[in-house]
Amino acid sequence: MVSERAAFLTQMVEVLTSTVSFGERLNNMVHLLGRNLKVDLALYFGLDKAKETLALNLSSAGPVPPHLQVEFPMGRGLVGETAESRKAKVVHRHQPGVLAANAPLEKLHPAYHTLAAFPVADDNYLYGVLILVDRGDRPFTPAERQSVELACLMLAGTLRQAIVQEEAKKRIAELSVLFEVGKALSSTMELEVLLERIVSTTAKVITARGAALHITDAATGEPLVSSRYGQIPPECPALPKMQGPTGAGEPPHFEGRSADAKGRMHYCLAVPLTFKGQLHGTLGVYDKFAPSGDFLPFDPENRQLLYTMAGVIVNAIENALTYQKVEDLAEKNERMVKNLTALQEISQALLTTVQEDRLLEILLQGLTLERGLGFDRAVILKVDETTQTLKGAKGARRPAKPADLPNSKALLLAPPEELPINGWEIPLRADQGPLALAVQRKTSYHHTQALPDPVWPAALKDKFTPPEFFVVPLLVKDRATWVTVVDNQASGRPLETEPLHVLQMLATQAALVLENAHLYSTIEANNRELLLIRERMLESDRLAALSSLASGMAHEIRNPLVSIGGFARRIAKLVEFSSPLRGYVEVIQEEVTRLEKLLREILDFTGENLSYYGDHEMAKLIEDTLILVQRDLDANKIKVVKEFAALPRLHCDDRQMKQVFYNLFQNAAQAMPDGGTLTIRTYAVEKPDGLYEAAAISDTGGGIPLEVLHNIFNPFFSTKDYGTGLGLAIAQRIVSRHYGQIEVTNEMGKGVTFIATLPVAKYCLVKDAGHDAVPASALKGPKGGRP
């Protein structure tokens, strides 16, 4: 007997300490008990703590089919009683109440007679109840009972171990979940990515089909951010906005369930995210997977996990939100610094010149360069107050590839990529659209695609009609002098606020520098004119003395000359042809004639002659003069080439102008005694102060030696054995009296070109923005008139 018992216990220990799975060990043990005690059936009822029931888990007869499933509440039947009392007990069928109390067991063994119940428990916990069933009315010897009790104790130990193991596993799983979550949370500071990871991790941890997270502003209720993962059944109700726990008690949660069209149930579970700041949030999961493929409702454990996760992620989200704000601020700062740097660089570049044209180029370069304000296109228009129009001054587009220059300043000073703006001329009227309005109202205008299409003036149709643009007037002393318009049409990027702000700041400065340039050029023009006047005054000072001397002398010399010459002629008439006296008298006559001619030229030069101003065609004056010198040209076999442009009439003294051309033609003819070509070309010349006409008279006489060139305009300078040396001096004097100038270009070995440049109207030089131009005749008209 003893050896039998020892063998049984040995087997028992073997079974319980075998390495097979816990369930199998339990199963083996139930069989062992049944076999060794020679009972018909051994059953193990496990305790379900939550439900407070004991359910049949194992049978020595093999797997329990569902229809034989039996369950006892705590305290009911032999199973329930034993669980409650934790004391072994043996009953027999015939004992009163046994059959009724244990009716469910009849399903398992219809003819049982003896039931023996043993609690499977240790000092602390009850794990289940072992029931031994036998058809005989059999007793259980104390030894048998002891053996079974011992076995139950061992079983309890094994169960305890299994439970601890299970719990440890669960803890590890939970920890690994938290680890996963922690990893997800610390992996990034990007809010969007973080939220994505949070919802996906949540779904995976809870084995849910989908998960979602929403955060709203508590004050306004505006949704801030949200993220979704997996599949979210449309049947599920929307997650409610939830507030964190208020005071003690179970924290709030939301559970929902609904069936889809096919009758399949869907579940959702949501808990609030409790932020410190003014934020509300909800974290929810949908449809827990069951191994069978069905969806399961979420259990309290899931809920607990969700709470845990919610607690952990709140901080991470708050951090990420703060980080994002800081990043936004940093980015904004960086942009601001970049824009201010650009502004400063453009400002500095603008200080390098006072020329309007260059200033416009620098401005446009600054507006279109990537390192500047980076607009795709920029156009600057000038306000013309006299004609009340807005005229395109210069345009530029962003270069596809900026020039490879060492620094921003060099880049800014490089010429911009020109944008053609021909025909940009907009009347300054309210019905001419935003550009004209910007001038009239003196305000900037930002046109966006959201606004109705603006009015486009005729000049801009098919040329410049972007969906979004920005117009800013350049204001000086509360007056718009220029207008800048920029857009981003080529790249389609929206116009950002900051560059527009910078542009407005820049506009103020640009307006000032452009105004300065304007003032500077006015001063320069005035200065130029003053210099001219001074030069002329000096010249007239120099000539004044000569002038009065010459005219006084002319009178005193001419009378005796007339007498000498006149009487010489009379003598000549009386002298015989053959007489030697005749020759002498002729010499006297010729010399007198020469002196008289010299007198006439001196008087011409000293300038006390009359001026008869009128409007004359330059070509006609030249043609008329050519007739006078034709004989000399023919004599020297000189070919005349004429290239006359169609030009407006000159306001000049025709007689004096002819004198100029006459002198120049004479010089040319004398420079080409052995033939050559006289080329006369007329053309228009545009100068800053107005329109001029030029006559270029070229000879092929071999040029003028350098030492001679310096003196050619000096009075009484001559290289010739004849003439007065006044020809070019007179020409220069007449031309300068007409507010023009004579220049000479010399090509040694080839020839000389004299260029007489004359203003079409004298008032070119004395225009004043405030007054109407004064015609030359009113300033310096004829001293007298023709009788």
Partner: protein
Amino acid sequence: MKKILVADDEVSIRLLYSEELKEEGYDVYLAANGREALEVVDKVPLDLVILDIKMPEMDGIEALRQIKEKRPDLPVVLSTAYGEYKQDFATWASDEYLVKSSDLEDLKSMVKRYLKD
């Protein structure tokens, strides 16, 4: 015979002009200044006067004015050694303006034009 008055302060010029004009068949009277010229105008029924501008006592311009007051029909020629610069409104009253020249052909043809009948 047509009567011409030549007024000039230069004796050589007076001599030259009278010689040349007499040769052309005119009756020539002479005066050394404007005052003398006016005396001649008062006394002689002249057909033409040639006046120098710059003369002592009374210059040609004043003489011209007074002659034209007395005898508006009498042609008066201003002849001067100046260039054209002295020409101004005062000289407009003259019928002709001549710059003196040793070549008297211009003067003679002009006189002929005025006195052709």
